[in-house]
């Protein structure tokens, strides 16, 4: 059966709540202070962005302190009348069985307009007379509607947990689910969630459930999740429209830039134009679009853009003569991924290139294909000669290790240098 991980792994104790340590301590002290009599502020008002554990904190605390937990949310307190119904609960210190009670009014932001008329005022009255701890939750405590209510409450701000805290939480879930996850992948999810633990957990479940391993490639396309539908639609338009003008509209509708749209179409064309005759036409059309893209780069004359658009949308669409239309999932442009992955390596290569440059009268960039490959062969086969080259170019240890490929070879070469 499908269980959402957000409820499966809901914190049962305060210890399991992610982040917000200071706010949680303050809140806990306040609830405990009820043991010594009714405090000045009879309600705690927890506020902060959604998905960061406000409700979870209250539930976990009730659980830790073995309190009776009563929860009401937006649908329960629409009017003054409805609120009066549970006001009685708050007016007694404990339940029939002597267990202390914690009452939560969640989603106060949900009170709006005429239908909830009187709602806030009624809540304020309940707070004034409460005989048992009352907790209020809203995203924004400083909304003008809460002006009076605020005065009677202890305001506790909940902040977004840090990426590291979210990351730790995701890693724990993976351990419990028996998933081996690359740290990069979890970092990506955590970072993207912007501190919203709930959405991070939902993302993790969607991507990892039932898997043994979670790799960076499995998650990187997420960055387009929010806009995924629109992207898919736009790419579909660019490849499947019946008329040229419909295809060209894809560019206007896309909320990604034209180069990115080009990458999407370029990546997906072979999967959707299966007949070789169509494929040849479609890729040629993309190549023409690219040619004019290059012209724009070289001349900064953006009037060529119209041809780029024509070729990459209408030109592709009109290439379809024989290919059958079937449902094929869209793929994320992988060429961009692999380019960014090797970025660090490229930086190192370039720094070697800048050593080669003054010696060989060649640009650092060009030396990467003209000189570097040959040097790296020598490094892998002939430590003696490699050491001579290293001395000649004044290479650093990091560069030597990179060129040598293995630690062992690098050590031999370094030994010869010493």
């Amino acid at each position: 059966m499908y269980t959402a991980w957000t409820s499966k792994y809901k914190p049962t104790s305060l210890r399991e709540v992610v982040g917000n340590t200071a706010a949680i301590t303050l809140f806990k002290e306040w609830v405990k202070s009820w043991d010594k009599g009714i405090p000045k502020q009879r309600a705690a008002f927890l506020y902060g962005p959604s998905g960061i554990g406000k409700t979870a904190t209250v539930e976990a605390l009730a659980n830790d302190l073995k309190m009776e937990f009563v929860e009401k949310n937006a649908s329960d307190y629409r009017t003054e009348e409805a609120i009066n119904k549970f006001a009685g609960l708050a007016s007694r210190y404990s339940s029939l069985f002597g267990v202390r009670r914690l009452i939560l009014l969640d989603e106060l932001d949900g009170l709006t307009g005429n239908a909830d008329r009187g709602g806030i005022k009624a809540i304020t009255d309940v707070v004034k007379n409460a005989q048992t701890p009352l907790v209020l939750i809203a995203n924004n405590a400083y909304d003008s509607r809460f002006m009076t209510l605020r005065n009677y409450c202890l305001l506790i701000e909940f902040k977004k947990p840090t990426t590291a805290e979210v990351l730790g939480h995701l890693a724990r879930l993976c351990t419990m689910e028996g998933i081996q996850a690359e740290e990069n992948a979890l970092k990506f999810i955590a970072h993207r969630s912007g501190g919203d633990v709930r959405s991070a957990v939902n993302d993790l479940q969607a991507l990892a459930q039932g898997k043994k391993q979670l790799k960076y490639e499995d998650v990187s396309w997420l960055s387009y999740r929010d806009r995924q539908d629109t992207i898919f639609n736009v790419v579909r338009m660019a490849m499947y429209s019946r008329t040229c003008s419909a295809a060209k509209q894809a560019v206007d509708l896309a909320d990604i830039d034209i180069d990115m749209l080009f990458e999407w179409v370029y990546e997906n064309v072979p999967y959707h134009f299966t007949d070789p005759r169509d494929l040849a036409k479609a890729t040629e059309s993309l190549a023409m679009a690219d040619l004019y893209r290059g012209k724009i780069r070289a001349t900064q004359d953006w009037s060529f853009l119209r041809y780029v658009i024509d070729y990459m949308t209408a030109g592709v669409c009109m290439s379809r003569l024989y290919s059958k239309v079937g449902w094929v999932p869209f793929k994320f442009p992988t060429r961009i991924q692999s380019l960014s992955k090797s970025k660090a390596e490229r930086m190192l290569q370039l720094s070697i290139g800048s050593k080669i440059k003054p010696k060989c009268h060649i640009s650092a960039k060009r030396s990467l294909t003209e000189v570097l490959p040959f040097i790296s062969i020598i490094f892998k086969t002939n430590p003696q000669k490699a050491a001579e080259i290293a001395r000649w170019l004044d290479l650093t240890e990091e560069m030597i290790s990179y060129l040598a490929g293995t630690e062992e070879k690098a050590k031999t070469i370094m030994g010869l240098l010493a």
């Binding site: 494929l279 040849a280 893209r293 440059k357 650092a364």
Partner: protein
Amino acid sequence: MSFEMWAEKYRPKHLSDMVNQKEIVERLKSFAKARNVPHCIFAGPPGTGKTTAALCLARDLYGDNYREHIMELNASDERGIDVVRETIKTFARSRSIGEIPFKIMILDEADNMTTDAQQALRRTMEKYTESCRFIMCANYSGKIIEPIQSRCAPFRFSFLPKEEHDKYVCQIATKEGVILLPDGLEAIFEVCGGDMRRAMNTLQSAASMNKPVDAKLVYAVTGRANPMEIQKMLVAAFNGDFLEARKQMRDMLQKHGVAGSDIVRQIHAELFKTKEIPETLKIKLVDFVAEIDFRLMEGADEEVQLSALLAKIVQAGFESKH
């Protein structure tokens, strides 16, 4: 003597040492003799002696301390307009010391300069002609803007012909004590196509294995753009597997850093050797190979253009079977 890569060690020092580009060298010698040099464009493929010719000319002109009278800038690394405004201008307007009233600015890979930078350069060239002469080295003179071209004497460098290439490579093999077998020499020319820097690097890295250099060894060290790999890619495409062919091409470009123009060159060579492709189709495909080669020179994206070429081969394969 300290170690150097052979391409540097055997780089000619004087114009009279240069074995190729005879007509060009003769004209440059006459410049050195007259002690006057116009602005020049040296255009031609890599490894054909453009930078070498510029350095030799400078040495013949100024003597062994030529470095004091020249500046070498690489436009691929320093191509912005700021470089033109600051570095180049400062050098160009400073007075020359010595008998020859001008200095020489060698702008390497000048075709990689932005159009804006070239426009800015044009004024500098005019204004400071008295004190500075420019030698622009470029693979494609077409990428240099017209106003600059019209101010320069053009020189076209070409790949070394096979006999000269062979003679030169053998000479260096002998000097370095490398046993170079005839099929190894063939292979070097096939892989490098008369690009001397590449030939030197290939020979040196093959020699570092301490074995006689034969064709197998040459292909092994240049495995990055090994003809067999190209053939595998062509066969995959011809048999209709576009995705596999594209993946192989992507690997060559991204993982091994092979230049797109090298892949095109090798596709061209391999096309005629691939038995799977019918003769009549080969010549049709060459049409397109040439087109793609041209587009790459225009600065188009290597992978996108090569994809289009592979798709054409897939189509050719399809049509030959139907």
